[in-house]
Symmetry: C2
């Protein structure tokens, strides 16, 4: 039997949250404890459209009470719910967490970080008004780190941005003669397609359209189209050829032109995406999660602008010698000016094999310092 301090309960909530997936929805974890700190339930958010962490923990506790008389005897009013992010006060695809907490009769809430959004914020205030003993925001470091980049994107009114890098061991996206299909393995490509399937839009440069003619669709392992498709976005000054594969993208209506932003500036691309009417996948009202797929100068532009919130690196066990770099144009002259990242523990840890390749999951190292 575990007896947790408030701090230890929040640490456990962070660990639970990290099993989730990064993106438009923040990673959130929740832990329910009895008055003596005994652990009653752990919950986490598992991705868009699923139960929020608070509701997940309360559902786990309700299930336990049905089979465990000792759990059933615990008075909810004497229990504390620990949440890494302020409970939402908003009905989206799931009901408001404030309602779930009140319905469960929980007496005390500790939350680590205030919800910065206008739509779902205010939950702490609502619960205080309802008579709960509410502590927060406590500023718990692990909880702050969990959502630092997400909160930054929210505060800037822009989507959460994931970038994708597929390269050889020596950092090349293509051989010297431009050949690049396929450097990485089917396992890496399947992972990349799963990521495409959970974003709202994908950005590539005109150079990538001309060199690789990508379809920019999310496909299942058998090659068939996934049920939800990201909106394709092209940035750069060159024209999209008449026969480009992405012109047949399923997110485009018949005769609709792909969104083409004639600029190398990520800020202009974000503005054009914000102005785009959609429709957007995942039932969202706008683009909340953006994937940058390349090529090299496009990736460098988004990285240099500090607009990449997470980075997926797929590295094939191959040397391409004097090939074409996967990232090109970063202004780094000395080691002290290196663009640094930090391992991202979400989604099963920061590194794992994907077939013969290595998958590395990173976040900007400077995120916390720039809050």
């Amino acid at each position: 039997m575990e007896h947790l301090t408030d701090e230890a309960a929040m640490d456990l909530a962070v660990a639970a949250a990290l099993e989730g997936v990064r993106g438009a929805n923040p990673l959130v974890g929740a832990v329910l404890t009895a008055p003596d700190g005994q652990l009653l339930a752990v919950g986490r958010h598992r991705g868009a459209g699923t139960l929020h962490a608070e509701a997940d923990a309360l559902a786990a506790w309700a299930a336990l009470r049905e089979t465990d008389p000792q759990a059933a005897a615990v008075d909810p009013a004497a229990c504390t719910l620990h949440v890494t992010l302020e409970p939402c006060d908003h009905t989206g695809r799931t009901g408001p967490c404030t309602g779930a907490v009140r319905a469960a009769g929980i007496g005390r809430l500790v939350y680590a970080v205030a919800d910065p959004t206008g739509t779902s914020g205010g939950g702490a205030q609502t619960l205080r008004a309802a008579g709960l003993d509410v502590s927060g925001p406590t500023g718990h470091a692990g909880s702050l780190a969990l959502t630092d980049r997400w909160r930054r994107a929210r505060a800037a009114g822009r989507p959460f941005v994931t970038a994708h890098l597929a390269q050889s061991l020596d950092g090349c996206a293509a051989a010297a003669d431009g050949t690049s299909q396929w450097i990485t393995s089917p396992a890496s490509r399947a992972h990349a397609h799963a990521v495409r399937g959970r974003v709202d839009a994908i950005v590539v440069g005109t150079g990538t359209v001309l060199a690789d003619d990508p379809r920019l669709t999310a496909r299942d392992d058998d090659g068939s189209l996934a049920s939800v498709q990201p909106v394709p976005v092209v940035m750069g000054h060159r024209r999209i050829p008449a026969g480009a594969a992405l012109r047949g993208h399923p997110a485009l209506a018949a005769g609709e032109e792909p969104l083409h932003v004639r600029s190398h500036d990520p800020a202009e691309v974000l503005a054009a995406i914000a102005a785009h009417p959609g429709p957007w996948p995942h039932g969202r009202g706008g683009c909340e999660h953006l994937l940058i797929e390349g090529g090299p100068t496009v990736l460098a532009a988004w990285i240099a602008a500090d607009l990449v919130d997470e980075l997926h690196v797929y590295t094939a066990p191959t040397f391409l010698g004097a090939g074409l770099p996967a990232v090109s144009g970063l202004a780094v002259d000395t080691l002290a000016h290196a663009v640094r990242w930090t391992p991202d523990s979400a989604e099963g840890g920061p590194v794992r094999p994907l077939g013969p390749d290595t998958w590395t999951h990173l976040r900007p190292a400077t995120a916390a310092g720039k809050e």
Copy 2:
């Protein structure tokens, strides 16, 4: 209770072998089974100077017999020992495995791969002559793959060669201005020092001596000198400066000049190392395990000559933009000519985090095809 076919027993022996460490000694695994295929014991070689796999399995079985009456009742003459490599017939730092097998009274031996060495080969013949039922070499694929590069090095009469690569995410060993200390983390450097501590010699180019002034010592985690030190070797045409740190290397006698091979040709370096009188660490009579540490053109030369048997890649989560490549001069013009590697499952798997860095363990993809 597991009942194994000969094939399944050998697969299990391979899995056990992969827990060991690559180098001058081959990875070997052994499995002892009863007449009905019941698993009695698993053994593996854990590194230079420790029990060979056969002796390890027999020791595990002897220990089991002391506590388990059912195991004690099994007749050794009815048992089969499955070994991935022919048992040695040679007394080195441990006794000959043929002797251990005979002393245990084992009735049947299955081995997968013949021992190619003059000193320790002939074990199967010895055991047949002693009356054992011996099957082999069976050519079991997993066992062949386990030692393919080791056998190649043995057949060529050269040391097993490990190469070391420390680089940024974009494949740079230094920034544009040459700054490079430290790109990788203390955890990566500690791992690299542990590798230095198990090789017989380290090769660097004169460029690395001039740029980094490395000590080329193996150091423990606290920075103190390890008890066994590799012999430093320098290749290239430039002079080793009078004040170079490696001149104070503990493997050099007072006043002794470091071994300096004035050549860019790995074959000439191997010849010079073979002619070097030593003394060699690890109680060996020569250099049986060589580490290539760089720099970029030295690594490329050994890779291009297909003389690298395993590759350790330490990748820091950092972009260095227009930095200096970690490998330089590989003649690859198109993807079909890429230098390909394959994940090496020995030593705890092909990929793992080391602090913020990623460690990748690779072997040449073409090894088996070139046997």
